[in-house]
């Protein structure tokens, strides 16, 4: 009998405590971020899709078409090509396209780059109605536009 009453009392008390805790939270500020109006600050190491780095002096990509990123990619989503202009010491990319639909944003390509030519974009508001827009992302033009 005593246990019966004790359980009722402790049980009811636990319910009251629970309700009190929940009520106390009602007077705190919401912690959610209202996305289209507000956005969180992305950390410096945020892994977005990749983009080419450009030499600020010449405006040309730093990439020398060594193909290390292409080899490092687990999903084979980087395709690049380059030529060696007359008199130049190194190659320049003529085409650098990223298949963003298969990219898993692992960052192995950026890590593999020995020439500091690749970086992560901070752009995450990417949307399109056509798959092909992201199947062949031309990073040469994309990077230049982003710079402007």
């Amino acid at each position: 009998m005593w246990n019966y009453l004790k359980e009722i009392i402790t049980g009811s008390w636990s319910l009251c405590v629970g309700m009190w805790i929940v009520l106390r939270h009602a007077f705190r500020r919401p912690v959610t971020v209202q996305y289209p109006y507000q956005s969180v600050k992305l950390p410096a190491r945020y892994r977005g899709h990749i983009q080419l780095k450009f030499d600020p002096a010449t405006g040309n990509p730093k990439c020398i078409v060594c193909m290390a990123c292409q080899r490092a990619c687990p999903s084979n989503c980087i395709a690049l090509d380059g030529v060696k202009p007359e008199g130049a010491t190194r190659k320049v990319p003529t085409q650098y396209s990223l298949n963003f639909t298969t990219c898993s944003l692992c960052g192995l390509c950026v890590e593999s780059c020995n020439f500091d030519a690749l970086e992560f974009s901070k752009e995450y508001n990417l949307t399109s109605q056509h798959k092909k827009d992201y199947q062949m992302m031309d990073l040469l033009t994309y990077g230049r536009e982003a710079k402007k």
Partner: protein, 335 residues
Amino acid sequence: MMAIPKDLIMELVRIVLYVVGFLAFIAVNAAYLSLLERKVPSWFQLRYGPKEVGPWGLLQPVADGIKLCAKQLLVQKGADVALFKLAPAMVVIPAIMSAVTLPFSETIVARNIDLGLLLIFSLSSIHVIGTMLGGWASCNKYSGIAAARVVAQNIAYEIPLLLVMVSLVMVTHTFNLHEIVNGQAGGFWHWNAFRLTASPLMPAAFIIYFICMLAEANRAPFDMLEAESELVAGAFTEYSGMGFGLFFIAEYANIVVGCSLGTILFLGGWHCPFGLLPGLHWFLIKMYFLCFMVIWVRWSFPRTQFYGLLNLSWKILIPFALAHLVLTSIMLKLL
């Protein structure tokens, strides 16, 4: 041509006015309680809740209503079409009809019936059958389980509820809601919930009533019939559009009626706690406070287990209600 008596016309106008009034009252309450049901947990849970549609999301229920009306009412293969379509109506009509005898204030009452309390309890039993039929007619196993649960649950909870009511009627000597309220005039110490002279267990009786009301309205933590982590949406799984909308309205209508009844029976109806300025506003304040409690309870606790719910009823609520009944009768005899 026979002249229509003026009294009859007045009566007809009165009836029409009350019918429209009640429908509007229940509909607006259902709509805005559903908004409150989303706003209150958002405060508890450190979020904003609906805020896009109208200022503070005030037009959200309207948007919801339009959405529900625009949706097609699907009836799946194998369902008992007649019962399937009848069930939402069977649930929502008694809930609205119960409002007929509720005295909102000294003057605002549709029909002051001597056996008002009895009428409300008989009506509130019908919606159980409606929910059961809805679950049964859905031809869905989850709904079928829910239909079986709802019957067992409501039988278990009618008993302590009615035991509490019997003792209350013994104290008040009437079934008439209007008279019950007037018996509690003059300060909160006269309210039935605190009338310790009638029985020391009166506050417990109020809590029993509140718990039973939650169970009757199938509200969390007793929402066995739409336990979404077990039964998807229980009896309402197969309903779409306004079929679901009616169940939804009925749920909130039941809360409103239940909270109103709690206010009338235990919290002194339209009377002020300090004996000042009685009126509709006090009734509404008390009723919405109870509604808030209902929502608060829902978002604080996990769901009970089915046998836990029956254990609570048979092992705790019924013994207490019986003790209360015995005490009341003894006190009544002695004093």
